[in-house]
Point group: C2
């Protein structure tokens, strides 16, 4: 008789709707030709990393001693790299961070796992807002805690503060936000962040312990609105910022990101130490050393993301004109319109008749919606629009 970790077996065999949709799209493309299949299932950046990345990699390989270049860095990352990231944020946000506030990680997933494991104690709850990235549940449970999803305010996907207040309790160790958001593309307004900070501050005082705000920001640099994105630690001291270069530099496979513990946070040094401990317990050792140097020298740069804005404008206007209802996405590269029938999975199934591959909101804890990833060539969207129109007409929607 074999006795494995039942949790790991379940996680390893669980069907992911996103992966299944992607696999279906690949199979259809092989069967009917890729130009017939319009796959909007995957959130992979479709623009290349900036040329600087290539130049830097060539230059680092040619000029840095390989023993140093490929060697272990300190667990928290090379000090000069962390200082470069601090300098960049200080320049942009007028903050006073130093190298000592950054812990480099293998992407945002690594950052979230370290932050959650550092904070999580048995019996703790972490809240997030539906719809949410499904791996949050996995990472929170790995930290020995429980994820509770606060229902969405469906008209604009800002925070429903009555629902949040109802969910807050002394058990709540932290709240995870993700703005710009996957899967809605919505950006939290300054007013939302201010009210959130106020409520968490009041409840922290009432409960006699901090409620941590974990700000998952892989889409921070992909913003369409003219209003600046609020810098969350300016509004709430006990914020941990989790960042990734996967989207901003189009480097998702290289696994590089960080946790920032702002010095204003309560017992920031102890929290930072616990994050170091979590990195050790999770077997991370250090973030990949070559790309530590690359991102330090790319600080403040991004890939050319103009196509994402073009895609959003084209796609959003067209879908709305066809009668689809969709909250205003001001960042990331997702649309999250309402499904044209209550069962979003059935709607996605019907879309597949047109070789139109979508993902239901159910995967994100928000039924009745579908996620559309528009990090694709613009021509794919142009080609797919008549399919969306025909699909709407099946439901008697649109002209």
């Amino acid at each position: 008789m074999i006795n494995l970790s039942q949790r790991m077996v379940a996680l390893g065999t669980a069907k992911s709707e996103i992966r299944e949709a992607f696999a279906f799209a690949q199979a259809r493309a092989a069967a009917v030709g890729p130009e017939q299949v319009d796959d909007f299932s995957i959130g992979n950046p479709s623009v290349p990393a900036p040329d600087t990345v290539k130049e830097l990699v060539h230059q680092l390989m040619d000029t840095v001693d390989p023993v140093k270049l490929h060697g272990y860095t300190p667990a928290q990352g090379e000090a000069s790299v962390r200082q470069a990231l601090a300098d960049d944020l200080n320049r942009r946000y007028g903050t006073g961070y130093t190298a000592d506030h950054f812990y480099l990680t293998a992407g945002a997933a690594g950052a979230l796992c370290c932050a959650l494991s550092a904070l999580g104690c048995p019996g703790d709850q972490f809240l997030t807002f539906a719809p949410y990235f499904p791996e949050y549940k996995v990472f929170v449970e790995s930290a020995g805690a429980q994820l509770v999803a606060v229902p969405a305010r469906l008209e604009d996907f800002q925070i429903d503060f009555a629902a949040l207040e109802a969910a807050l309790s002394p058990q709540v160790k932290g709240v995870i936000i993700n703005s710009p958001n996957n899967p809605t593309g919505v950006v939290y307004s300054q007013e939302t962040i201010r009210r959130l900070a106020q409520m968490l501050g009041e409840k922290s005082r009432a409960y006699g312990h901090p409620i941590w705000l974990i700000s998952d920001e892989p889409y921070r640099e992909i913003v369409y609105q003219t209003a600046p994105l609020p810098w969350v630690p300016d509004f709430y001291d006990n914020t941990l910022v989790c960042y990734s270069y996967s989207k901003s530099l189009s480097l998702p496979g290289q696994r590089i990101g960080y946790v920032l513990v702002p010095p204003q946070a309560e017992e920031a040094d102890l929290v930072y130490a616990a994050i170091c401990g979590a990195g050790r317990a999770l077997g991370y050792v250090c973030a990949p050393s070559l790309f530590q140097l690359v991102v330090a020298r790319c600080a403040g740069q991004t890939a050319d993301m103009a196509v994402y804005r073009r895609n959003r404008d084209l796609f959003l206007d067209a879908l709305r004109s066809m009668g689809y209802t969709c909250a205003q996405p001001e960042g990331a590269f997702y649309l999250f319109p309402r499904s044209l029938e209550p069962d979003a999975a059935a709607f996605c199934e019907r879309a597949r008749k047109y070789d139109l591959i979508l993902v239901s909101g159910d995967s994100f804890g928000c039924p009745g919606h579908v996620r559309i990833s528009y990090c694709v060539p613009t021509e794919q969207i142009q080609r797919a629009l008549p399919k969306f129109r025909a699909l709407a007409r099946e439901y008697g929607v649109g002209g």
Copy 2:
């Protein structure tokens, strides 16, 4: 009041003797000049990655579409990469592995964490043999299990089978071996592996469940003996091989390795699924994509490690001729001689008077010994030998 994970705080603030020794060496080098300080504390490869690595990185950056090159791979790693690793092992060991038996990880630490978390259930014990790599305890406890160290056979650091038999019980889920070994440099003989396999097989049958053999092999390619290193899965079906390119290709900072689940293992598919689940739970997402391609194209190559052999021969002969007692190291880049007084920490302290930086065996669960890392320039060893001689004379040892 702040309430963090006490385990993570403890892991993040724990003093590591190795790190402390390394920091001391750095401080002394700054004070008295680096040529006065002989630091043997750190197990960082001192030879560069082979030139092929540089050529491949340049070539991949110039020829592969950056969206693909820097994109996510499947969680288990790019299929073509896994096939290349299988082909290489099949060529060397006459095995019949395929891509489906490999799960690429962020180095051996990631491989161990995935394997242990896949297997570990509450109440489980994992055994290892002292002296052992101290992070084993951290990784086993992260998997919710307990590490038990079986005492060493001090004369040659092969397995003490009476001690192993005494430690085996139905609670034991697995046994971790590390040959060539850190910190002793000892290689398990074929006879040791054969007897180990026989005992684990008998006990598995007696207990009615498999006892897994986790073979941690980052030093597999660094071997001095003429006898070939036994390929562990040939001797025991329920073996999980954890490998890293950190030492063989001198790429420790790039975090790339794998777990191999041989198809002969009991319910191999389920074990593999649990490893995939563990990778997900630990937030690994995928192994760094650029270096996946690099190691696939370097399969079977190593850095030029001739200096390690030269260092071993020089160092071992000299220390023995001075009266030090040291088991025969046939791999890796460590010597593990007996301390010249029972308290190895006191011995290391005395060595520091000569600016000779060693690490006590206590850190590895084996008091009365010291670890010497000889992955250093040969000149450093030549320079340090008179210090070792003077130190021995303080204890009345040697001529």
